[in-house]
Protein backbone atom coordinates (compact mmCIF):
# COMPACT_ATOMS: atom_id res chain seq x y z
CA UNK A 1 0.00 0.00 0.00
CA UNK A 2 1.41 3.35 -1.01
CA UNK A 3 0.68 6.73 -2.41
CA UNK A 4 2.00 7.04 -5.93
CA UNK A 5 3.39 10.47 -6.85
CA UNK A 6 4.00 11.23 -10.46
CA UNK A 7 4.56 14.28 -12.56
CA UNK A 8 1.85 15.01 -15.11
CA UNK A 9 1.41 17.69 -17.74
CA UNK A 10 -2.02 19.24 -18.09
CA UNK A 11 -2.63 22.12 -20.48
CA UNK A 12 1.14 22.55 -20.86
CA UNK A 13 1.62 22.96 -17.11
CA UNK A 14 3.42 20.61 -14.75
CA UNK A 15 1.55 19.11 -11.82
CA UNK A 16 2.11 16.40 -9.24
CA UNK A 17 -0.52 13.69 -9.17
CA UNK A 18 -1.03 11.62 -6.02
CA UNK A 19 -3.12 8.45 -5.83
CA UNK A 20 -3.32 5.14 -4.02
CA UNK A 21 -1.90 2.07 -5.68
CA UNK A 22 -4.65 0.00 -4.02
CA UNK A 23 -7.66 2.13 -4.96
CA UNK A 24 -8.07 3.67 -1.51
CA UNK A 25 -8.78 7.28 -0.71
CA UNK A 26 -5.80 9.44 0.10
CA UNK A 27 -5.95 12.34 2.54
CA UNK A 28 -4.24 15.52 3.63
CA UNK A 29 -5.24 17.87 6.44
CA UNK A 30 -8.36 15.79 7.12
CA UNK A 31 -9.53 16.13 3.52
CA UNK A 32 -10.05 12.95 1.53
CA UNK A 33 -9.46 12.58 -2.20
CA UNK A 34 -9.73 9.96 -4.93
CA UNK A 35 -6.67 11.56 -6.49
CA UNK A 36 -4.91 14.82 -5.79
CA UNK A 37 -3.32 16.99 -8.43
CA UNK A 38 -1.38 20.01 -7.27
CA UNK A 39 0.77 22.70 -8.89
CA UNK A 40 4.34 21.42 -8.95
CA UNK A 41 5.60 24.39 -6.95
CA UNK A 42 3.33 23.34 -4.06
CA UNK A 43 4.14 19.64 -4.27
CA UNK A 44 6.67 19.70 -1.45
CA UNK A 45 4.10 21.10 0.95
CA UNK A 46 1.23 18.87 -0.05
CA UNK A 47 1.97 15.37 1.17
CA UNK A 48 -0.79 12.78 1.18
CA UNK A 49 -1.27 9.61 3.15
CA UNK A 50 -3.27 6.58 2.15
CA UNK A 51 -6.44 5.73 4.07
CA UNK A 52 -7.95 2.28 4.49
CA UNK A 53 -11.21 3.44 2.89
CA UNK A 54 -11.82 1.95 -0.55
CA UNK A 55 -13.02 4.26 -3.29
CA UNK A 56 -16.66 3.60 -3.97
CA UNK A 57 -18.24 3.83 -7.35
CA UNK A 58 -21.65 4.69 -8.66
CA UNK A 59 -24.45 2.52 -9.93
CA UNK A 60 -23.57 -0.30 -12.25
CA UNK A 61 -23.69 -0.23 -16.03
CA UNK A 62 -26.99 -2.08 -16.15
CA UNK A 63 -28.71 0.82 -14.42
CA UNK A 64 -27.21 3.26 -16.89
CA UNK A 65 -28.79 1.32 -19.70
CA UNK A 66 -32.18 1.58 -18.01
CA UNK A 67 -31.64 5.29 -17.61
CA UNK A 68 -30.95 5.76 -21.28
CA UNK A 69 -34.34 4.27 -21.97
CA UNK A 70 -35.91 6.62 -19.45
CA UNK A 71 -34.21 9.64 -20.98
CA UNK A 72 -35.53 8.75 -24.39
CA UNK A 73 -39.04 8.64 -23.00
CA UNK A 74 -39.02 11.91 -21.11
CA UNK A 75 -36.67 14.26 -22.91
Amino acid sequence: MAVIREEVTINNKQFIKNYSDQNFYIEREDARYVEAIDPIELAADRIYTETDIPIEHGPKIEEEEVIEDVEQQII
Binding site: E35, R46, G58, P59, I67, V70, I74
Partner: protein
Amino acid sequence: MGQISDDRLLKIERVRSAIISFLKRIGYEVEDEADFEELLPIINGVDKNALLRSFLDGTFVGEYIDDEITTLRGGAFSYIYGLAKIEIPRVTYLPGAFANNIYLNTFFVSNATSFGGQAMCYFGSKKGVILRKWLWANTYQNGISYNYSTPVLDLQFKGVSTTAPTTDQCIIYGTGLSTVILRSNGVCRIGSVSTIRSNIQEIYVPQSLINEYLTATNWSAVENIANRLKPIEGSKYESLTWYEEEENQNGSN
Protein backbone atom coordinates in the same frame (compact mmCIF):
# COMPACT_ATOMS: atom_id res chain seq x y z
CA MET B 1 -92.03 25.12 6.41
CA GLY B 2 -89.92 27.30 8.60
CA GLN B 3 -87.64 30.03 7.40
CA ILE B 4 -83.87 29.47 7.20
CA SER B 5 -81.95 31.98 9.23
CA ASP B 6 -79.24 34.15 7.68
CA ASP B 7 -76.70 32.38 9.86
CA ARG B 8 -77.79 29.01 8.51
CA LEU B 9 -77.62 30.29 4.92
CA LEU B 10 -74.14 31.57 5.53
CA LYS B 11 -73.00 28.16 6.76
CA ILE B 12 -74.52 26.43 3.73
CA GLU B 13 -72.73 28.88 1.46
CA ARG B 14 -69.45 28.15 3.20
CA VAL B 15 -69.96 24.42 2.64
CA ARG B 16 -70.75 25.04 -1.04
CA SER B 17 -67.61 27.15 -1.48
CA ALA B 18 -65.48 24.57 0.29
CA ILE B 19 -66.77 21.79 -1.98
CA ILE B 20 -66.04 23.86 -5.10
CA SER B 21 -62.58 24.69 -3.82
CA PHE B 22 -61.86 21.01 -3.08
CA LEU B 23 -63.09 19.83 -6.47
CA LYS B 24 -60.91 22.40 -8.21
CA ARG B 25 -57.92 21.39 -6.15
CA ILE B 26 -58.22 17.76 -7.22
CA GLY B 27 -58.50 18.75 -10.87
CA TYR B 28 -62.20 19.17 -11.65
CA GLU B 29 -63.46 22.15 -13.61
CA VAL B 30 -66.30 23.67 -11.62
CA GLU B 31 -68.07 27.02 -11.97
CA ASP B 32 -67.80 29.28 -8.94
CA GLU B 33 -71.56 29.73 -9.00
CA ALA B 34 -72.41 26.03 -9.25
CA ASP B 35 -75.23 25.04 -6.91
CA PHE B 36 -75.65 21.79 -5.02
CA GLU B 37 -77.71 20.20 -7.79
CA GLU B 38 -74.80 20.74 -10.17
CA LEU B 39 -72.19 19.72 -7.64
CA LEU B 40 -73.75 16.45 -6.50
CA PRO B 41 -73.18 14.47 -9.74
CA ILE B 42 -69.58 15.68 -9.80
CA ILE B 43 -69.08 14.62 -6.19
CA ASN B 44 -70.61 11.22 -6.92
CA GLY B 45 -68.25 10.80 -9.84
CA VAL B 46 -65.11 11.59 -7.89
CA ASP B 47 -62.70 8.71 -8.17
CA LYS B 48 -61.05 8.64 -4.78
CA ASN B 49 -58.26 6.43 -6.12
CA ALA B 50 -57.52 8.46 -9.23
CA LEU B 51 -54.55 10.42 -7.86
CA LEU B 52 -53.05 7.46 -6.07
CA ARG B 53 -53.55 5.29 -9.14
CA SER B 54 -51.79 7.81 -11.35
CA PHE B 55 -48.80 7.77 -9.01
CA LEU B 56 -48.80 3.99 -8.86
CA ASP B 57 -48.98 3.43 -12.59
CA GLY B 58 -46.77 6.42 -13.40
CA THR B 59 -49.35 8.27 -15.49
CA PHE B 60 -49.61 11.32 -13.23
CA VAL B 61 -49.22 14.55 -15.17
CA GLY B 62 -48.92 17.86 -13.39
CA GLU B 63 -47.39 19.49 -10.32
CA TYR B 64 -47.09 18.33 -6.76
CA ILE B 65 -47.29 21.36 -4.49
CA ASP B 66 -47.85 20.57 -0.85
CA ASP B 67 -46.90 22.79 2.05
CA GLU B 68 -48.35 20.37 4.59
CA ILE B 69 -46.34 17.25 3.95
CA THR B 70 -43.30 16.81 6.20
CA THR B 71 -42.27 13.21 5.58
CA LEU B 72 -41.72 11.23 2.38
CA ARG B 73 -41.22 7.54 1.89
CA GLY B 74 -38.28 6.27 -0.12
CA GLY B 75 -38.92 6.36 -3.83
CA ALA B 76 -41.90 8.70 -3.36
CA PHE B 77 -41.65 10.43 -6.74
CA SER B 78 -39.45 8.06 -8.68
CA TYR B 79 -40.44 7.21 -12.23
CA ILE B 80 -43.36 9.67 -12.27
CA TYR B 81 -42.37 10.91 -15.70
CA GLY B 82 -45.19 13.43 -16.04
CA LEU B 83 -44.29 15.29 -12.86
CA ALA B 84 -43.50 18.87 -13.84
CA LYS B 85 -42.84 20.42 -10.44
CA ILE B 86 -42.25 19.37 -6.83
CA GLU B 87 -42.76 21.96 -4.10
CA ILE B 88 -42.47 20.48 -0.63
CA PRO B 89 -41.08 23.26 1.57
CA ARG B 90 -41.63 21.51 4.92
CA VAL B 91 -39.80 18.34 4.01
CA THR B 92 -36.43 18.30 5.77
CA TYR B 93 -35.29 14.84 4.76
CA LEU B 94 -35.23 13.60 1.17
CA PRO B 95 -35.18 9.82 1.50
CA GLY B 96 -33.31 7.34 -0.63
CA ALA B 97 -34.34 7.31 -4.27
CA PHE B 98 -37.07 9.84 -3.49
CA ALA B 99 -36.91 11.35 -6.97
CA ASN B 100 -34.97 9.03 -9.21
CA ASN B 101 -35.52 9.08 -12.93
CA ILE B 102 -37.74 12.09 -13.19
CA TYR B 103 -37.33 15.29 -15.14
CA LEU B 104 -39.02 18.38 -13.73
CA ASN B 105 -40.08 21.23 -15.95
CA THR B 106 -38.87 23.93 -13.60
CA PHE B 107 -36.48 24.68 -10.75
CA PHE B 108 -36.27 22.24 -7.89
CA VAL B 109 -35.77 24.19 -4.66
CA SER B 110 -35.16 22.43 -1.38
CA ASN B 111 -34.31 23.34 2.18
CA ALA B 112 -33.86 19.72 3.13
CA THR B 113 -31.01 19.27 5.55
CA SER B 114 -30.31 15.62 4.90
CA PHE B 115 -30.59 13.15 2.08
CA GLY B 116 -30.85 9.40 1.76
CA GLY B 117 -28.69 7.25 -0.45
CA GLN B 118 -28.84 8.41 -4.04
CA ALA B 119 -31.90 10.45 -3.22
CA MET B 120 -32.03 12.01 -6.67
CA CYS B 121 -30.16 9.60 -8.89
CA TYR B 122 -30.68 10.41 -12.56
CA PHE B 123 -32.73 13.40 -11.57
CA GLY B 124 -33.32 16.23 -14.00
CA SER B 125 -34.75 19.67 -13.60
CA LYS B 126 -35.11 21.67 -16.79
CA LYS B 127 -34.17 25.01 -15.22
CA GLY B 128 -32.01 24.12 -12.28
CA VAL B 129 -31.58 22.76 -8.80
CA ILE B 130 -31.39 25.07 -5.81
CA LEU B 131 -30.30 23.49 -2.55
CA ARG B 132 -30.17 25.86 0.36
CA LYS B 133 -28.91 23.67 3.18
CA TRP B 134 -26.73 21.34 1.23
CA LEU B 135 -24.12 19.18 2.89
CA TRP B 136 -21.03 18.77 0.74
CA ALA B 137 -20.68 15.31 2.26
CA ASN B 138 -23.82 14.32 0.41
CA THR B 139 -22.10 14.77 -2.89
CA TYR B 140 -20.11 11.75 -1.85
CA GLN B 141 -21.92 8.40 -2.09
CA ASN B 142 -25.26 9.87 -1.07
CA GLY B 143 -27.61 12.56 -2.21
CA ILE B 144 -27.73 13.55 -5.83
CA SER B 145 -25.75 11.61 -8.33
CA TYR B 146 -25.73 11.46 -12.09
CA ASN B 147 -27.69 14.65 -12.14
CA TYR B 148 -28.49 15.29 -15.77
CA SER B 149 -30.13 17.89 -17.95
CA THR B 150 -30.02 20.48 -15.21
CA PRO B 151 -28.42 23.68 -16.48
CA VAL B 152 -27.88 25.48 -13.16
CA LEU B 153 -26.90 24.09 -9.80
CA ASP B 154 -26.97 26.54 -6.89
CA LEU B 155 -25.60 25.19 -3.64
CA GLN B 156 -25.79 26.96 -0.33
CA PHE B 157 -24.16 24.98 2.39
CA LYS B 158 -25.17 23.98 5.85
CA GLY B 159 -21.62 22.77 6.33
CA VAL B 160 -18.67 21.91 4.13
CA SER B 161 -17.35 18.42 4.57
CA THR B 162 -13.68 17.71 4.20
CA THR B 163 -14.49 14.65 2.14
CA ALA B 164 -14.23 15.43 -1.54
CA PRO B 165 -16.89 13.73 -3.61
CA THR B 166 -15.97 10.90 -5.89
CA THR B 167 -16.17 11.91 -9.50
CA ASP B 168 -18.71 9.44 -10.72
CA GLN B 169 -21.18 10.09 -7.93
CA CYS B 170 -20.79 13.80 -7.75
CA ILE B 171 -23.67 16.21 -7.91
CA ILE B 172 -21.73 18.52 -10.17
CA TYR B 173 -20.95 15.78 -12.65
CA GLY B 174 -24.12 16.34 -14.65
CA THR B 175 -23.75 16.17 -18.39
CA GLY B 176 -26.21 19.00 -18.97
CA LEU B 177 -24.81 21.30 -16.31
CA SER B 178 -23.47 24.65 -17.53
CA THR B 179 -23.48 26.82 -14.37
CA VAL B 180 -22.56 25.94 -10.80
CA ILE B 181 -22.82 28.31 -7.83
CA LEU B 182 -20.86 27.30 -4.74
CA ARG B 183 -21.90 29.51 -1.82
CA SER B 184 -19.33 28.25 0.63
CA ASN B 185 -16.99 30.25 2.81
CA GLY B 186 -14.26 27.72 2.08
CA VAL B 187 -13.04 25.93 -1.02
CA CYS B 188 -15.27 23.00 -1.91
CA ARG B 189 -12.89 20.13 -2.32
CA ILE B 190 -13.19 17.93 -5.38
CA GLY B 191 -12.00 14.36 -5.44
CA SER B 192 -10.68 14.47 -8.97
CA VAL B 193 -9.90 16.92 -11.75
CA SER B 194 -12.50 15.27 -13.92
CA THR B 195 -15.26 16.17 -11.46
CA ILE B 196 -15.43 19.50 -13.27
CA ARG B 197 -16.52 18.44 -16.71
CA SER B 198 -15.94 20.58 -19.75
CA ASN B 199 -19.67 21.30 -20.11
CA ILE B 200 -19.57 23.38 -16.91
CA GLN B 201 -18.80 26.79 -18.34
CA GLU B 202 -19.29 29.00 -15.28
CA ILE B 203 -18.42 28.28 -11.66
CA TYR B 204 -19.50 31.07 -9.32
CA VAL B 205 -17.70 31.30 -5.98
CA PRO B 206 -17.15 34.13 -3.48
CA GLN B 207 -14.72 36.73 -4.83
CA SER B 208 -12.49 36.31 -1.77
CA LEU B 209 -11.92 32.62 -2.59
CA ILE B 210 -11.07 32.81 -6.28
CA ASN B 211 -7.28 32.86 -5.76
CA GLU B 212 -7.56 29.99 -3.31
CA TYR B 213 -9.52 27.92 -5.83
CA LEU B 214 -6.86 28.57 -8.47
CA THR B 215 -4.22 26.77 -6.39
CA ALA B 216 -6.45 24.29 -4.54
CA THR B 217 -5.88 20.58 -4.96
CA ASN B 218 -7.40 19.35 -8.22
CA TRP B 219 -9.05 22.70 -8.94
CA SER B 220 -5.72 24.12 -10.13
CA ALA B 221 -5.49 21.46 -12.84
CA VAL B 222 -9.01 21.92 -14.19
CA GLU B 223 -8.83 23.01 -17.80
CA ASN B 224 -9.16 26.76 -18.31
CA ILE B 225 -10.18 27.17 -14.68
CA ALA B 226 -9.13 30.82 -14.48
CA ASN B 227 -11.72 31.79 -17.06
CA ARG B 228 -14.45 29.59 -15.68
CA LEU B 229 -14.29 30.81 -12.10
CA LYS B 230 -16.44 33.90 -11.60
CA PRO B 231 -17.37 35.96 -8.54
CA ILE B 232 -20.87 35.57 -7.17
CA GLU B 233 -20.79 39.21 -6.17
CA GLY B 234 -22.13 41.40 -8.95
CA SER B 235 -23.56 38.46 -10.88
CA LYS B 236 -27.23 37.61 -11.40
CA TYR B 237 -26.73 34.91 -8.79
CA GLU B 238 -25.82 37.31 -6.00
CA SER B 239 -29.44 37.30 -4.86
CA LEU B 240 -30.44 34.07 -3.16
CA THR B 241 -33.82 34.35 -4.85
CA TRP B 242 -32.57 34.92 -8.41
CA TYR B 243 -34.58 31.92 -9.61
CA GLU B 244 -37.84 33.42 -8.39
CA GLU B 245 -37.18 36.54 -10.39
CA GLU B 246 -36.39 34.44 -13.45
CA GLU B 247 -39.55 32.40 -13.06
CA ASN B 248 -41.66 35.51 -12.62
CA GLN B 249 -40.14 37.12 -15.70
CA ASN B 250 -40.77 34.06 -17.82
CA GLY B 251 -44.16 33.42 -16.29
CA SER B 252 -43.25 29.78 -16.26
CA ASN B 253 -43.82 27.08 -13.70
